[in-house]
């Protein structure tokens, strides 16, 4: 894998390699979360996209500066609407527990809902009218961005707890269907509620945890390092060419340096999570988890509460996916709701986990690197193949144009085939789980 990346670095560019590495690292964190759910407990989460999106939302909510005009205009009203909605739900649940008349509860909930909706739509209209081209939403809290990773994890954990609470005690496929549904709904909310995170208008210019390229280009020490690396090239040039060439090099180097900072950060988080989860897996808790996975009936006979254990693992795994989602938006510096596609976020992660070997954390990391590399490179490769075919036919051939237009959809077919092949011929993946004595 390292050799392949080295090859790309020498042939294409180092910035590209680091881009691939960084996204692989984020995917690896996501895959780790899914592996905890699937490999440790056999829980089938088809809503990875939704949990990742929750992480992304929390970046916007935590790190963006608040939009004071919008808050002045409709903030209080929105808060009131949301509190009203919450009160309605809580009242409904409490009355239901106390065994009140079902019709009474239903009418209270309906009336509460109608009032909430009334205030809610008024408030969102007002907020969305505040300078819609630039803001048109409430903005965030303006806290440091690192804080949002934790919040992203917590948000995903909360959603997972709710879903898990309802479905985990039931059939296995209910969890799959429910997660699929919740992921789509989270996305619908994000895309349609403009007052919340600007909907499909995207949130750009998110703060960064690492320095900006422009600042790096002015720094003395980076200049010195670059000059030292390229000293043999620079010596051959005249004085004026040297300055021009050097600033060219520094510009490239600043991009690489910023990406390296991100890589360092992601590696740190990934390693910490792997160490923690491996420690957990080898502890008495981990033995309990594996015992439940391998034989639920026997484990429950030993007095283990299976549903509670599953809920715990589902929440932990989803929280990790949420953290990875927050990291992804931090890295991109922009929140794009339309970029959340089930294929990119749910399915690709699944292929990573299954290819790497479910149950093995390092396997998930390896799977993430391999699959992400194939995914990124298969687009250009497909186009290249089509161009090769095209070169044998005359200009403006309709078939070639058709293929160039559509060839990227074949990646779906390709990834699906990989998944099915591994499932059938190597169900344990590349790095199978080490069978430790229980």
């Amino acid at each position: 894998m390292g050799l392949v990346l080295l090859f790309v670095g020498l042939n294409q560019s180092w910035a590209l390699v680091l881009g691939i590495v960084n996204l692989s690292l984020i995917s690896a964190i996501m895959a780790l979360g899914v592996n905890i759910q699937w490999g440790y407990a056999g829980l089938f989460n088809v809503g990875i996209m939704g949990f990742a999106a929750l992480g992304g939302v929390s970046v916007v909510l935590i790190a963006q500066q608040p939009v004071t005009e919008a808050i002045d205009a409709g903030g209080i009203k929105m808060l009131f609407a949301l509190v009203l909605g919450a009160i309605t739900i809580v009242t409904g649940v409490v009355l239901n527990k106390k065994g009140f008349n079902k019709w009474l509860i239903a009418s209270i909930v309906v009336i509460g809902y109608l009032f909430t909706r009334h205030y809610f739509s008024e408030a969102s209209d007002v907020i969305e009218k505040v300078d819609p081209a630039i803001t048109g939403y409430l903005g965030g809290f303006g806290f440091p961005i690192a804080f949002s990773w934790i919040v992203g994890g917590l948000a995903a954990a909360g959603a997972a707890w709710w879903i898990g609470k309802i479905t985990l005690s039931l059939r296995a496929d209910y969890l799959a269907i429910a997660t699929l549904g919740i992921a789509e709904i989270i996305l619908y909310v994000i895309k349609n509620e403009d007052w919340f995170v600007r909907g499909v208008k995207n949130v750009a210019g998110l703060p960064r945890p690492v320095p900006y390229e422009v600042d790096m280009q002015k720094s003395e020490w980076l200049l010195n390092i670059v000059a030292w690396i390229h000293r043999s090239d620079l010596e051959l040039l005249t004085q004026s060419d040297q300055v021009a060439q050097l600033s060219e090099y520094v510009r490239g180097a600043s991009v690489v340096f910023v990406k390296l900072c991100y890589s360092g950060l992601f590696v740190l988080i990934l390693v910490a999570l792997i160490v923690l989860s491996n420690l957990a897996l080898n502890s008495p808790w981990g033995r309990k988890v594996r015992a439940i996975r391998d034989n639920e009936v026997a484990a429950s006979a030993m007095g283990k509460n299976i549903t509670r254990q599953h809920l715990q693992i589902f929440v932990i795994g989803s929280a990790i996916v949420g953290i990875a989602g927050a990291l992804l938006v931090t890295y991109n510096g922009i929140f794009i709701p339309t970029a959340y596609m089930p294929l990119r976020f749910t399915f690709l992660i699944w292929v990573m986990v299954i290819l790497g070997g479910s149950g093995n954390n390092l396997g998930s990391v390896l799977g993430a690197f391999i699959i992400w590399f194939i995914w990124i490179q298969s687009g250009p490769m497909g186009l290249w193949a089509v161009e090769m075919i095209g070169s044998f036919t005359q200009e403006g051939n309709t078939i070639t144009e058709f293929l160039e237009d559509r060839v990227h959809y074949l990646r779906l077919v390709f990834m699906g085939s990989i998944l099915l092949f591994i499932m059938r011929f190597a169900p344990r993946g590349i790095l199978p789980e080490k069978n430790k004595e229980l």
């Binding site: 088809v46 039931l170 429910a178 559509r406 990646r411 699906g416």
Partner: protein, 344 residues
């Protein structure tokens, strides 16, 4: 608008904008839900590829329709898509049998007990199918109906009855409801009365016992896929005639279809149909804007000035989800008792 109370016009309005659309949408969902139920009862897994398989069937219909129209082989008044459905069913059957041979048969042979393996495999098939459809037709929405758009239009209805609000019966709605009734009737007759149908039910009830009685499992599975292919293609084609074809839309149909199956009780065909109509009516009733309806029914002083829409149209898939969650909370077995115990 009149300021008096006008029940007949209100009823006409409801029929046109709520009852007819919900009936035809419900029929389309019911066919899809029956396909999921069949796969679940015989092959014992929840088929996540259902939505994309419907897109696949519809894709064949669209391609053949284009071909037929190009050749001029059309019959006036009838949508060409209807004529090519039989051929499309054959095409989808071949595709499904191939997928079964390549993917699912292996797991039956090694007797995998967990239906989670089937789900994972069907998700792989889902992406392959979706990729093929998008590769061939592209991802953008398209319409493929031709012939008469209406059995009777709003204007004809108004002229006939003299009402202020008209009811239009679209050809696609009429076809959907008729074909769905015929197909469901055939399916139930097949399962209840024919020898093969009985064999299928026996296989679903108790596989071991069915095998002992000399029922050929491969044949049962093949027949199942043929039925599923017919249901899938027809459901997809009817939905496309009604609302247009878009791969992503078909993919998302998975949610209302699963909601229908689970609401009705997973594994129960009648329940699937009941669930489908529950989901479709909830969806249409909750996203309909009641302003005009209330204007007809209420005196002038109480006329609403907002749209009186309970939930925005953009959240229609959320409705199926909420129904699903509510049923799971209150009655996990579904309306008509299905199989709740884990699939193994």
């Amino acid at each position: 608008m009149s300021d008096s109370i006008d029940i007949i016009n209100a009823f006409a309005l409801m029929t046109n904008f709520v009852i007819l659309p919900a009936l035809s949408y419900g029929s389309q969902l019911a066919l899809g839900a029956l396909a999921v139920t069949l796969v679940y009862s015989i092959l014992r897994f929840s088929n996540f590829a259902q939505g994309d398989s419907m897109a696949f069937g519809t894709m064949i219909v669209i391609l053949l329709t284009g071909f037929m129209i190009g050749k001029g082989w059309t019959i006036t008044g009838i949508p060409t898509a209807l004529l090519v459905i039989p051929i499309a069913v054959i095409g989808t059957s071949i595709y499904m049998l191939t997928m079964d041979r390549l993917v699912y048969r292996h797991y039956r042979r090694i007797k995998v007990k967990q239906n989670i393996v089937g789900i994972t495999a069907s998700i792989g098939v889902m992406f392959i199918t979706g990729g093929i459809v998008r590769f061939i037709l592209g991802a953008s929405p398209q319409r493929f109906e031709d012939g008469e758009r209406f059995i009777f239009s709003v204007r004809e209805f108004k002229a006939f009855t003299g009402l202020e609000q008209g009811i239009a019966l679209k050809t696609s709605q009429f076809l959907t409801i008729t074909i769905a009734i015929l197909l469901v009737a055939f399916l139930f007759y097949f399962l209840q009365k024919t020898k093969t149908g009985k064999a299928m039910r026996a296989y679903s009830d108790n596989t071991e016992l069915a095998l002992l009685s000399g029922i050929d499992p491969d044949k049962v599975v093949q027949i199942t896929w043929l039925l599923v292919a017919a249901l899938t293609t027809i459901a997809g084609a009817l939905y496309g005639l009604d609302k247009g074809f878009a791969p992503q839309q078909y993919h998302l149909l998975l949610l209302p279809i699963f909601a229908s199956v689970i609401v009705g009780g997973i594994g129960s065909p009648l329940g699937a149909i009941a669930g489908a109509f529950l989901v479709s009516f909830s969806e249409v009733l909750l996203t309909y804007a009641y302003k005009k309806f209330l204007i007809y029914l209420l005196p002038l002083s109480m006329h609403p000035n907002s749209l009186v829409q309970l939930i925005g149209t953009e959240y229609k898939y959320a409705i199926s989800f909420v129904i699903l969650v509510t049923v799971l909370l209150i009655r996990p077995t579904g309306l008509l008792k299905g199989k709740v115990i884990d699939g193994d």
